[in-house]
């Protein structure tokens, strides 16, 4: 069993965490798929979870989003339990309603309780943000993968969330579509949204992330600033992962 290294995000993360994963355990079929995960996440920037398939990255994201409950341990937010509209989740495969792009966004605004009179202006802003105006009346599910993910991203940002959780948002997208999504992420970060990203794409993690959390078999093996993680990973598993070796 590899050693878990001390969490070292550097001095800039000395501020009180916005999210604290406290000895979180998630069991499936009697086996710990997330194993005693403790991690403070600061109030700003982008943290990327990396690791091989089955490491528990997406499960960690779902635990933070509150979609699944931990078997043991706690996930605490600085401001208490966030409202659903404060914590947005974007899935690898966008889940869009069987409606037009506009109706998808309108559904989210209605769900978040946006007053009816404010919705048209907000919809226009969101469509502009995602450069979706020409697609507004198209059924969302006939759009290309990149366009669908843009709709999902803009929908996630509809209520100005405090936290944006992204589960491999560009996994199957071409470079152009990936760039569009990364631009939206960068704009969200600039607006103060705390982003937690799951990605297999080392380049993307390098472009977007401030910190990297490296998971393997449900355990957090490294947590470090991105530059340091890529330059000098400390565990053999992280080194092998970054070298492109198969981690069994």
């Amino acid at each position: 069993m590899p050693e878990v290294l001390a969490i070292d995000f550097g001095d800039e993360k000395a501020s009180p965490p916005a999210i604290l994963l406290d000895d979180v355990v998630l069991e499936r079929g009697g086996k710990a798929v997330i194993d005693r995960l403790s991690l403070p996440l600061g109030p700003k920037g982008v943290t990327a979870f990396m690791g091989p398939n089955g490491a528990g990255k997406s499960l960690t994201l779902r635990l933070i989003a509150g979609l699944i409950a931990p078997t043991a341990g706690r996930i605490r937010f600085a401001e208490g339990v966030p409202l659903p509209q404060q914590i947005a989740l974007v899935f690898q495969k966008p889940v869009l309603l069987r409606r037009s792009v506009r109706a998808n966004l309108d559904h989210a605004l209605k769900t978040f309780g946006t007053p009816r009179r404010e919705r048209p202006a907000r919809l226009a802003d969101l469509l502009a943000l995602g450069q979706l105006e020409p697609l507004a009346e198209r059924p969302a599910r006939v759009l290309s993968g990149g366009e669908q993910q843009r709709v999902a991203m803009v929908r996630a940002l509809a209520a100005n969330p405090k936290y944006l959780l992204l589960d491999e948002p560009t996994a199957s997208l071409d470079p152009q579509a990936t760039a569009a999504i990364e631009t939206l992420v960068a704009r969200a970060v600039a607006a103060g949204v705390r982003v937690i990203l799951v990605t297999h794409d080392r380049g993307q993690a390098g472009r977007l992330a401030d910190d990297i959390c490296f998971l393997h078999k449900g355990r957090l093996l490294e947590a470090a600033p991105a530059a340091r993680f890529f330059q000098a990973p400390k565990t053999a598993e992280a080194k092998a992962y970054l070298a492109g070796d198969l981690l069994l």
Partner: protein, 235 residues
């Protein structure tokens, strides 16, 4: 064989001539059937959606029960509604026995489990797809049901169609609670049964042809609507 051919010819003459009695029977049949299916959808769609989305004690038993009720014998439903609406029954005071309303009630009881069971299946599949999204958006249980019903609307036409088929072809229950009274409660199926027993094959055949044609037309129309929607990629 000659009688059979003559009966067919007479049946087509009745249809072509828009025979008043024939039209009255068709009109009542459609009124009773569509009213029953409308009521069944009003109850069965939300019930099926709640069974698909809800997690409560006894849900599994209720799912089995609703599925089992799809095979309700019409004569048993007819008998039960008869007992309820007869003068000595608990709802006898309403004086509904041998009226189209009694027939609508009986058919609605027969069709509701079909609509509910098929709705549950459709909504359960869609819920599997939407569940995490709707929960991440903080959608309420009622909002979830409404979203699923709306997004599955074209698939749910199949449930309504199945109910329509059952109601349109039903004879046992409506015979018992309607009484097959001429110009009052006589519908296509009961008229076919009566005319056949009397040896009046022309009217029976005419009604039979119309019944089959109506069934094909309604099904074709609704399936066409569904296909159009699918082409628009809403499905």
């Amino acid at each position: 064989m000659q009688d059979f051919g003559a009966a067919f010819a007479e049946a087509f003459a009745l249809i072509a001539g828009l025979d008043a009695e024939l039209m009255a029977i068709i009109g009542l049949s459609l009124r009773v059937t569509f009213s029953a299916v409308l009521i069944a959808c009003a109850i069965g769609l939300p019930l099926g959606a709640l069974l698909a989305v809800g997690r409560f004690p006894g849900r599994a038993a209720l799912v089995v029960l609703v599925s089992a009720l799809m095979g309700l014998p019409p004569v048993v439903v007819g008998l039960a509604v008869y007992l309820l609406l007869s003068s000595a029954g608990p709802l006898g005071v309403l004086q509904l026995l041998y009226t189209p309303t009694a027939m609508i009630i009986a058919q609605a009881i027969l069709v509701t489990p079909i609509v509910a069971a098929l709705t549950r299946q459709v909504i359960e599949d869609l819920h599997g797809e939407y569940d995490e999204l709707l929960r991440s958006l903080g959608t309420s249980r009622l909002g979830t049901v409404a979203t699923l019903l709306w997004d599955a609307r074209y698939s749910l036409l199949t449930a309504a169609l199945a109910g329509l088929g059952r109601a349109l072809a039903e004879v046992g229950a409506v015979m018992i609670v309607g009484g097959n009274i001429n110009h009052v409660t006589r519908v296509m199926t009961t008229a076919i049964a009566l005319e056949t027993s009397k040896g009046e094959l022309a009217l029976a055949l005419g009604l039979g042809i119309i019944l089959v044609c109506l069934s094909i037309l309604i099904n074709a129309g609704l399936m066409g609507l569904r296909r159009t929607a699918e082409r628009m990629a809403y499905a």
